[in-house]
């Protein structure tokens, strides 16, 4: 993604504020996996994995990995007290039935009305959707964390996605290295921005128009 570790953690820290006590949360790979590091110690959260875990904990110490306790990315994890295992059908039953409070995932493009493209670049990269469609379409709240623009300097927040959609009108919130946007029936609204940038710069770097919240907040970095 090309963002430094400090910037990635800044995005993850802001995303962590959206997680409330008692929630069931599914995290994608990359920046989303940094989110648990920014949760309060007293927060009770159940992390869900599509491969059949509710209640994932931290990474195990080196040498203490169990090959049969892994996350959806195939990496070893631990489980917390109260955790459960289930088969893939049940794991996705939870998603489709709307039991996942928040999903935090990466994206290639997000449109101003919340369309999400995050799994295919035709002719280049076709890894498969995995569980992204179910999560994007069915989680109660979908938060995208991503760099504001791609390697070519193109805005990843767009008027209309040019890449095939994972799901239409599903994204509720976008957190980038520059700003925090909300998307609802009123469209795309800039609510917060990091002190490393300015509203003018965000306007320049975003390829669609957006509203600016009357209570816009500057996050001091």
């Amino acid at each position: 993604m090309g963002l430094g570790v400090d910037v990635r953690n800044r995005i993850a820290k802001r995303a962590a504020l959206e997680i409330k006590n008692g929630m069931v949360v599914n995290l994608g790979i990359g920046i989303p996996s940094l989110v648990p590091n920014h949760l309060g110690k007293d927060q009770n959260v159940m992390f869900h994995a599509e491969n059949g875990i509710v209640g994932m904990g931290a990474s195990p110490k080196q040498g203490e990995e169990d090959e049969n306790v892994c996350n959806a990315g195939g990496l070893p994890v631990t489980v917390i007290p109260g955790a459960s295992y289930c088969d893939s059908s049940i794991a996705f039953g939870m998603i489709r039935r709307g039991k996942i409070d928040v999903t935090i995932l990466g994206a290639l493009q997000v449109s101003e009305n919340g369309d999400l493209a995050n799994w295919i670049v035709p002719g280049k990269k076709v890894p498969g959707m995995g569980g992204a469609m179910e999560l994007a379409q069915k989680a109660k709240k979908v938060i995208v964390v991503m760099s504001h623009y791609d390697k070519a300097g193109q805005s990843k927040i767009v008027k209309n996605c040019t890449l095939p959609l994972t799901s239409a009108q599903c994204v509720d919130m976008i957190i980038t290295d520059m700003a925090v946007f909300h998307i609802d029936h009123d469209g795309l609204t800039l609510r917060e921005y990091f002190s490393t940038t300015s509203i003018e710069e965000i306007k320049t770097m975003t390829s669609c128009s957006f509203q600016i919240d009357k209570d816009i907040k500057r996050i001091i970095v």
């Binding site: 059949g52 169990d66 893939s88 498969g128 469609m133 994972t166």
Partner: protein, 230 residues
């Protein structure tokens, strides 16, 4: 150990059921919960033109990924190939046909096949032409759904922690994943297990797959690949 149902056998014996051009459904997620000894048997038998059905193509040297890497499959039905770059390469060279299916839909198609249901209706994937292509839709109470057909296979291969001699299975932690579903969907289901115990040694309440679905049980010779983090 007594073998009253004749289900306990060897990998060498079950390999007799495998042939070129067949469909094989495999349990596992990123290789975790895939049966290493049976996969080794498939590699040794030099099977060709396989259709593979399962969650993903593992990694090039982990799980079913090894079979894909050697070009043994013509067609795969999976949700993800991202962790196995060789699968992507074979696909772009036209040597491998890949049907991508959303992961939860795939699990449910396998479950449907396993429990004798012809298809499921779902709204997942309606926004993507790659998912909807050539599939009928059905309108129910004003809402549109995709008709996703059930999946079965000539042989299902699964990995479990324990079996008794009837083939009742208990899986281990997150290695359960797709295994209980895949176990139901094979015309013949072969379970590779870490431990085989006599009848009566498993608590009936703890059995995850009833042996009714399992035709053969073979002892595992252990995982013969290195995990990604190693």
């Amino acid at each position: 150990m007594k073998n009253p149902f004749g289900k306990i056998t060897t990998v060498e014996h079950v390999m007799d059921f495998f042939h070129d051009g067949m469909s094989i459904m495999f349990g596992g997620f990123g290789g975790i919960g895939s049966p290493p000894t049976i996969i080794e048997g498939i590699l040794k038998k030099d099977l060709q033109h396989l259709t593979l059905i399962g969650n993903d193509t593992g990694f090039p040297d982990i799980g079913i990924g090894r079979v894909v890497k050697e070009g043994r499959a013509d067609q795969i039905i999976v949700s993800h190939i991202g962790s196995n770059p060789i699968a992507g390469k074979l696909m772009s060279e036209g040597k491998l046909t890949v049907e991508f299916c959303p992961q939860g839909t795939l699990a449910e198609r396998i479950r449907a096949g396993g429990v004798g249901i012809a298809a499921i209706l779902t709204d997942v994937g309606l926004d993507n032409e790659m998912v909807t292509r050539n599939k009928p839709t059905y309108t129910l109470e004003g809402k549109t759904y995709l008709v996703e057909t059930a999946l079965t296979a000539e042989i299902s291969i699964v990995y479990a922690k324990k079996a008794d001699s009837y083939g009742n299975l208990i899986y281990d932690k997150s290695a359960r994943n797709t295994n209980p579903l895949v176990a139901m969907a094979g015309n013949i289901t072969i379970a590779e297990v870490e431990e085989i115990v006599p009848l009566g040694q498993l608590d009936p309440d703890e059995i995850m797959t009833p042996g009714t679905f399992v035709q053969y049980v073979v002892p595992s010779q252990g995982v013969n690949w290195k995990w990604v983090w190693e």
